[in-house]
């Protein structure tokens, strides 16, 4: 039976196997040390460590555990649904943040940051609209002033058409 750490170990073993396998596509070049040497060493280390993690966390289930698992009728799909619903806030926040990083180059810094701040304040359970608006506008203004005006960082501009 595999617990969470063992599953992570198996995933890491797979990733390190892929990492190791990719090194065979590196051309043999370089004086004395090819570009594949260090990656192979690192991948091998990860494979070994992940193997130790799996070995330490794989256990033979007791009769009680087997009976309890037998009475659990939730399939894989059900478990995935339960996981997503249980972590819905995390997924929503991740989607909003991801959208911000993609959209900012087209919509520009100011509108996208206003949206990001407003959405995040809302997710943190602030429901007073004047507070949401104030934080978004003030925050965006300060960031713009500090990074664009003082530090001369060229922030993204509107570039849709």
């Amino acid at each position: 039976m595999l617990n969470k750490d063992a599953v992570i170990g198996v995933v890491l073993m797979s990733v390190s196997a892929v990492f190791f396998g990719v090194t065979w596509t590196f051309p043999i070049q370089g004086q004395y040390v090819s570009p594949a040497v260090f990656p192979r060493f690192v991948s091998a280390c990860m494979l070994i460590l992940a193997g130790i993690l799996v070995a330490r966390n794989v256990k033979v289930p007791s009769r009680t555990e087997t009976e309890e698992r037998g009475s659990d009728n939730t399939g894989v799909a059900g478990k995935v649904r339960s996981f997503v619903l249980g972590n819905s806030l995390f997924f929503l926040f991740a989607i909003i943040a991801f959208a911000y990083t993609r959209v900012i180059d087209y919509v520009g810094f100011i509108p996208s940051t206003l949206f990001l701040l407003a959405a995040t304040v809302f997710l943190f359970k602030e429901r007073r609209w004047h507070v949401i608006a104030l934080v978004s506008v003030l925050g965006t203004s300060v960031y713009y002033y500090v990074f664009r005006i003082i530090f001369k960082v060229p922030l993204p501009r509107f570039d849709l058409f």
Partner: protein, 498 residues
């Protein structure tokens, strides 16, 4: 022309010059505290000013920026779990837990005192031991550097927390991340899969911001949803008492010397010094298990070490004309711009400037102490801002800070991805600090290994022929053995309790 340190102090304390030192230090603290902006950015921003002042004043201002920026990184590391500079990543390990316990002011006070002490000790080393330290630095070739990196990698075990295996996995994960990009020896892209952005690799600061800051925002969102109430910050007694300060000096003094020694070696820097100091302090502590939960020594040691690198990094710069780290590399450029050529002749051709630099470094650290004490009651007020307002603002700052590093939204994406990875690591008990060590040390170790083999015609045995390298291998073995024994004892204790 002869000059003494008294002349240096007289020069710097002249109001016309002191104002520039103050601007450098205060500006450095602000730049260092802002994620995404480092001391090198601050020095670049000051470059236009150097043309309007004499070279000595320019150097004093740049030194102030250098010292202030390294200290400033600890403020954001302690308050919002976001190291302002890579050298503050180790400070976060105990600084942020202290802040979570309501002791942010005390943590910043300890960081201030430790930073000042580290800076002053390293400046005295610079003043009296510069030629000897330069000779020490010259003995480091690729073989010795590689051995130093091997030792530095063993620090991973010390910051692994409760599970050594998980800590090592995190460290190796950091090494794997650092492999993405262009191979330093052959220029061949690795693990880029023909994606242009991956050919650049992953910049350290977005990875740092994601793993520590953005992941923490995910955690805070979860806690907010569960209704967990934040601890109220103590603003009253914010400075540590004299007894605690004297007790911490047992940690601060050796860490300062360690930082100075590391800083002297070109290409190392405050991040490596701070983690090493943290590792050694924990190793010799009577209560090593308390590290990572808010132990004041876990703040004092890395802060003393990272500011200790300031004087150390100036040694190769002033005596050899070789920069000790990224910031001094930019300072070298600034010196060239104003027509000053650092190197062995600097001490004889410009003794007044050299003494002004010494005095400037000492006074910069005194200014850090004064500014820190004055503002230590102000900074923790940031944590009294309601979480629903504070954390969205931190998120915005993280994204813009990441963007500012290369003017690309790719860095924002990296920060977010590593934020998600960091959140997952926190939920599953994998420590994040070893990842940073792997990302910093991996490329240096591989680069030095390649250089060592090239300069020795592929003879691997030469890696074990240098006395300095053998010394580092020996203490690496001792360090790993100690960590394994400690981990085994901890697991036996846990099994016994179960």
């Amino acid at each position: 022309m002869e000059a003494s340190i008294i002349d240096g102090f007289m020069f710097v304390l002249d109001p016309a010059h002191f104002i520039f030192l103050f601007i450098g230090v205060a500006g450095g603290i602000i730049v260092g505290a802002l994620p995404g902006l480092t001391g090198s950015v601050g020095i670049i921003l000051l470059l236009p000013f150097v043309f309007y002042v004499d070279p000595s004043t320019a150097m004093v201002m740049l030194c102030g920026m250098f010292c202030g920026a390294i200290y400033g990184g600890s403020i954001s590391a302690i308050l919002i779990s976001t190291p302002g500079t890579p050298s503050a990543a180790a400070t976060l390990l105990d600084g942020y837990p202290m802040a979570r316990k309501g002791e942010a002011g005390r943590a910043i006070g300890i960081a201030t005192i430790a930073s000042t002490s580290g800076g002053i000790i390293s400046t005295f080393c610079l003043m009296f031991l510069a030629p000897q330290l330069a000779a020490f630095a010259l003995r480091f070739g690729p073989v010795e550097y590689f051995a130093l990196m091997v030792f530095a990698l063993t620090v991973i075990a010390s910051v692994s927390g409760n599970s050594l295996v998980k800590g090592l996995i995190s460290g190796v994960f950091g090494l794997m991340i650092a492999l993405v990009g262009i191979d330093p020896m052959t220029g061949m892209p690795r693990y880029s899969f023909d994606i242009p952005n991956l050919m650049i690799g992953f910049s350290l600061l977005p990875v740092l911001i994601g793993l520590f800051a953005i992941s923490q925002i995910f955690v805070q969102l979860e806690e907010r949803a569960k209704g967990v109430v934040a601890v109220k910050q103590k603003i009253g007694k914010v400075l540590p008492g004299w007894r605690e300060v004297l007790r911490l000096f047992k940690v601060i003094i050796p860490s300062s010397f360690l930082g100075t020694a590391i800083g002297v070696i070109p290409g190392t820097g405050g991040a490596i010094a701070s983690f090493m100091a943290y590792n050694e302090t924990r190793r010799f502590s009577k209560d090593p298990d308390s590290f990572g939960t808010g132990n004041p020594a876990g703040v004092a040691a890395p802060e003393a070490a990272n500011n200790g690198t300031t004087g150390g990094a100036m040694v190769p710069l002033l005596t050899l004309g070789v920069p000790g780290d990224v910031v001094t590399a930019v300072m070298l450029g600034a010196l060239m711009l104003i027509g000053v050529r650092p190197g062995p002749l600097l001490f004889t051709e410009h003794p007044d400037m050299v003494q002004a630099i010494f005095a400037g470094l000492l006074l910069a650290n005194v200014l850090i102490l004064l500014l820190g004490i004055v503002s230590v009651r102000v900074f923790p007020l940031v944590l009294r801002i309601p979480e629903a307002i504070l954390f969205p603002l931190i998120l915005g700052l993280c994204f813009i800070g990441s963007y500012a590093l290369g003017n690309t939204t790719w860095n924002m994406m990296i920060a977010l991805i590593f934020g998600i990875i960091g959140y997952g690591m926190k939920k599953t008990g994998f420590p994040a600090a070893p990842v940073i060590l792997g990302v910093i040390l991996g490329p240096i170790a591989e680069d030095e290994l390649g250089k060592a083999l090239i300069t020795n015609y592929g003879e691997w045995s030469t890696l074990f022929q240098s006395p300095i390298a053998l010394f580092f291998y020996a203490i690496s073995i001792a360090s790993v053995t100690y960590s394994l024994m400690r981990d085994r004892a901890a697991r036996k204790k846990a099994q016994g309790a179960a």
